[in-house]
């Protein structure tokens, strides 16, 4: 006797009218409404069962009799439907149920593939970028960046010394299939320490068919006479197996301002990726290797040796060091190399039960070269290698009585090594870091219109650091009283070797609610954030040549804690769509880098500015993001995104580097639906940031044989500006796309408050870019 039932594997529903055949005996029957079937007359032995259903893939299965209990068999839907399920499940799916999420469109990613990830991300409302020159672009969300922002690549946070303002993410736009932003701290899955949000990059889920798809893209930019070549190739099979790869090569020489050259601003970027894996309805796995390398020149006039150089640069309209145009990258420059190996396994069971396991190894080497004397000139002044192992697992249970919960665990081991052969004091010391995280998220979905989500997360962060302190600084900071026991030995060059063990237990929580209304959706999100100070904040100790600044960490820093609330009103259907998001946060013990008490390094005769990491008792942030889109007619579409943010201490002092109000507008024109011609005109307006802290200092200028002391205004933000871009895209031939883009059409001379080199030179002028893409 064989008593069985047939179920649909993904819906977990009983399948009616499935034809079941015992091949050996040719007995045949159909399942009933409960998916059950019963063969009474079967003896002991091995049989082959054939299951057939019009919507499903036929399955044969061996069955040995006797069996004592009810056997359950699963059928999968036809390829087309499977594909629909697999693809729709992973692409265009929100990470959180109630979080405020925005996604870059495929067009937006394409448009920025010749540039930096930071440039592409800045298209999203609430995102701006903090730059060091034109090639080092770092995303900022709601005015915060670095460790207050997580960049998550396929489920694991990118570990690339992300704290430094001149450390751009080690990832190429071309490697980002899908990019989305989750505002605030609602994505507890990735960490409870993100005040800004999570930028999530996920690979495309490949289709279940025999296909070879790929593209070959090449382009030329007038700025820097830059060229680029991008390729990608993916082979897929109906079995779900796939493999592929991608490469990018970008190369540009010196950029230019409308009136002058921006010497030593060339950059090179290389990226390569290979991946393979298999997608099935119940199982998915993927192995990925990515390599990313970038070398970027730092504007030569920004290499300053003294505060006087900054003062003189500020008083001059033009950069003080301009050299002939070259493609060569000289010192100062930086070079980052990132390797990423990841393995991912996803299992899907009945009733929406899901389980995944991810492992990633990342190696991030960052080298900074300064203008030095003699043999040192070819030697990096900073050479740090950060290696991270991350292991993450997530589990989602079945929905039951409107409730569903998910949980996960993560472990990280990180090793940072600063190469002593630089001959320069380590900016970041050697350390080992262990991190463990555990989260639990419960969803409550009583109806189609209402969803509530409660999440809790606990993280443990253990940092074991070996650091040298100059004895004079050690005593000056009073560490000789509070940290005397951490001294391991006294070195020959006037340093203490100390061992600093820091342990932080962080708790975070998030509560989200989503209510669908007649015409839109309202989302409310509350997050409690705890962030442990990062190694840069605790231990920084060194000179940043680009800004003639000495940065000093503080061993006494503790965690910052606070609340962030977001409210979003959205309408995503119809010709007129919008999303308006307001956010507010209040953070205690907020860590900032600001001028030390003296302002200058007195020991070095005021040659350098001193910046210290300090904790402000309370910092409040508030802001508004707007996304708006209007389909004027079948030919015209208008889109705008705008963001405004304010970050101040409880006393009302504004913080530095807060993005000013900015509005991006775009008008798109498609003459006919049949022809793939598209024209678009874009405008970017950036207001002047009026809310700035006063970091001005006095300097003795030497003029006409007289020394006169004057205030050096490094605080006032540059004036507001408008930029216009235009692009035209069409098909040149059957499989060839062509696009022509003009950026900063009117060759506007402007400076950007969020460019750290704004004291030394203006931004780049007009750029014309021509791009050809062959798609197969």
């Amino acid at each position: 006797m064989l008593f069985g039932e047939v179920f649909d594997v993904h819906e977990n529903l009983a399948l009616e009218q499935v034809k079941v055949t015992v091949v050996e005996t040719n007995q045949q029957l159909s399942t009933n409404a409960e998916g059950k079937f019963l063969f009474r007359e079967l003896c002991k032995g091995q049989y082959t069962l054939l299951f057939e259903h019009p919507d499903c893939v036929s399955v044969t299965q061996k069955q040995t009799l006797p069996v004592t209990s009810l056997k359950r068999y699963f059928l999968e839907h036809h390829i087309n439907e499977l594909e629909e399920i697999i693809v729709s499940e992973t692409s265009e799916k929100n990470t959180t149920k109630t979080g405020i999420e925005r996604r870059l469109t495929e067009g937006e990613i394409k448009r920025f593939r010749a540039q930096n990830l930071g440039d592409a991300l800045a298209q999203l409302s609430g995102v701006s970028s903090i730059k060091t020159g034109n090639a080092i672009v770092k995303p900022m969300v709601h005015g915060v960046t670095g460790s207050r922002l997580a960049i998550v690549n396929d489920g694991i946070r990118l570990q690339d010394h992300e704290w430094g303002a001149d450390h751009a993410p080690s990832i190429d736009v071309n490697a980002a299939d899908q990019v989305q932003l989750i505002k605030g701290a609602s994505a507890l899955k990735y960490g409870g320490d993100v005040l800004g949000g999570v930028l999530e990059i996920t690979p495309k889920t490949h289709r279940l068919k025999d296909s070879l798809i790929g593209a070959l893209t090449t382009g030329y930019s007038s700025q820097g006479q830059g060229g680029y070549l991008l390729t990608n190739l993916t082979k897929t099979y109906t079995s779900g197996a796939f493999f592929g790869g991608a490469t990018s090569i970008k190369n540009a020489g010196d950029f230019s301002h409308p009136d002058y050259a921006l010497s030593n601003t060339g950059n090179r970027e290389q990226h390569a990726q290979v991946f393979f894996g298999r997608n099935k309805i119940t199982k998915k796995w993927r192995v990925d290797y990515r390599f990313y390398q970038k070398e970027a020149g730092i504007l030569s006039s920004a290499h300053v040796g003294t505060v006087g150089d900054i003062a003189r640069a500020l008083e001059s309209d033009q950069p003080l060091s301009t050299l002939p145009w070259t493609r060569r990258i000289n010192n100062p420059r930086q070079q980052t190399t990132h390797h990423n190996v990841s393995f991912r396994y996803d299992r899907r069971l009945e009733n929406q039960v899901k389980w995944d396991l991810l492992y990633t190894y990342q190696s991030n080497n960052r080298k900074e070269f300064d203008i030095r004397r003699g043999e040192y000139n070819d030697r990096a002044a900073l050479d740090i290698l950060l290696q991270s192992h991350d292991l993450v697992t997530n589990y989602q249970t079945a929905a039951k009585n409107d409730f569903q919960w998910s949980t996960g665990f993560s472990a990280q081991l990180q090793d940072n090594f600063s190469d002593p052969s630089t001959g320069v004091r380590r900016l970041i010391p050697d350390y080992l870091r262990y991190k463990f995280g555990l989260y639990w998220i419960n969803q409550y979905v009583p109806s189609n219109d209402f969803t509530a989500e409660l999440g809790l997360r606990f993280d443990y962060d253990y940092l074991d650091t070996q650091k040298f302190y100059k004895i004079a600084i050690w005593n000056d900071r009073g560490y000789n009283q509070d940290f005397a026991s951490t001294i391991v030995s006294t070195g020959n060059a006037g340093n203490y070797l100390t061992r600093q063990i820091k342990k932080f237990a962080n708790f975070s929580a998030s509560l989200g609610v989503k209510q669908k209304l007649d015409k839109g959706t309202v989302r409310v999100n509350l997050g409690y954030i705890t962030r442990a100070p990062n190694p840069a904040e605790l231990f920084s100790d060194g000179l940043h040549h680009a800004l003639a600044t000495i940065e000093l960490g503080d061993l006494r820093l503790t965690q910052e804690r606070g609340l962030k609330a977001l409210l979003s009103i959205e309408k995503q259907t119809g010709v007129f769509t919008y999303a308006l998001t307001g956010h507010y946060s209040s953070i205690a013990d907020y860590i900032v880098l600001q001028p030390g008490e003296a302002g200058f390094d007195q020991a070095r005769n005021s040659a350098f500015l001193v910046r210290e990491y300090v904790q402000l008792p309370r910092v409040n942030t508030q802001g508004i993001d707007l996304d708006l889109s209007y389909q004027i007619s079948s030919q015209f579409q208008y889109k705008t995104t705008a963001s405004w943010v304010s970050i101040k201490t409880a006393e009302g002092t504004p913080l530095i580097d807060v993005p000013p109000l900015n509005v991006n507008q775009e008008l798109q024109f498609r003459p006919t639906k049949e022809k793939p011609l598209r024209l678009s005109l874009r405008n970017q307006f950036v207001a002047q940031q009026k809310q700035v802290p006063d970091f001005n200092f006095e300097y003795n200028f030497f003029e006409d044989g007289n020394i006169s002391s004057r205030l050096v205004d490094i605080s006032t933000a540059p004036k507001a500006y408008h930029l216009m871009d235009f692009s035209i895209e069409t098909k040149a031939w059957d499989r060839v796309d062509i696009s022509l883009t003009a950026e900063n059409i009117f060759n506007i001379d402007y400076r950007n408050y969020l460019n750290r080199l704004r004291y030394f030179a203006g931004e780049t002028g007009r750029n014309i870019r021509l791009e050809l893409s062959y798609i197969f």
């Binding site: 006039s301 290499h303 301009t322 697992t393 081991l413 650091k467 070195g491 030497f702």
Partner: protein, 185 residues
């Protein structure tokens, strides 16, 4: 339910095994870091002033101190040579001037005078770069009438020009910028 518990258990135990194995493979010990002795800082500058009568005086600035006052006799010409040192280790002072001479093309010493009746010009025995431009390591200071003022001295690294009357015209970055008070009597 039983089924659910069983699958959950299987997954958790699998995961735990993977975690345990990974942690086993990872070595959790780190070598002691090597101490770095910075050798490129200029934290001491000496002006050796040789007066017309052959008497010689050293005026030295050390990091953390203010610059000493240079005294010159009125209506005389003195020979001044400048030296840059890394005196981080008092027992092993490095003379950075040698590196400046080796890389004469990438260096330039620039003087500015305020108030004092003084003029400064390169000495005939000064170090020249490959273009034949004196880089002002050895200079002649011609003092006129009694007065007081300041001499600002810059050591410029990678200047874009070696001709000009203001610091801004020369480009490059400033390695050293010191104001020496001067008394001519």
């Amino acid at each position: 339910m039983k089924n659910f518990i069983q699958t959950t258990y299987t997954h958790i135990s699998h995961t735990a095994t993977v975690f345990a194995l990974t942690l086993l493979f990872i070595q959790c010990k780190k070598d002691s870091p090597e101490e770095i002795n910075e050798e490129e800082v200029i934290n001491s500058v000496t002006l050796t002033v040789t007066a017309a009568d052959g008497s010689s005086n050293d005026y030295t600035w050390n990091e953390g101190e203010s610059e000493p006052t240079i005294t010159l006799a009125a209506n005389t010409t003195s020979n001044v040579s400048i030296h840059f040192y890394d005196a981080s280790d008092a027992s092993d002072v490095e003379d950075i001037t040698e590196e400046v001479i080796e890389e004469a093309d990438e260096h330039f010493v620039f003087y500015q005078i305020s108030s004092a009746s003084l003029s400064i010009a390169a000495a005939s025995n000064d170090v020249e770069d490959s273009d034949g431009t004196s880089i002002n390591l050895k200079t002649e200071w011609t003092a006129a009438g009694a007065s007081t003022g300041t001499v600002r001295v810059y050591l410029i690294h990678e200047p874009t020009s070696k001709t000009g009357t203001s610091r801004g015209e020369l480009g490059g970055s400033t390695d050293i910028e010191l104001d020496f008070p001067v008394t001519i009597q």
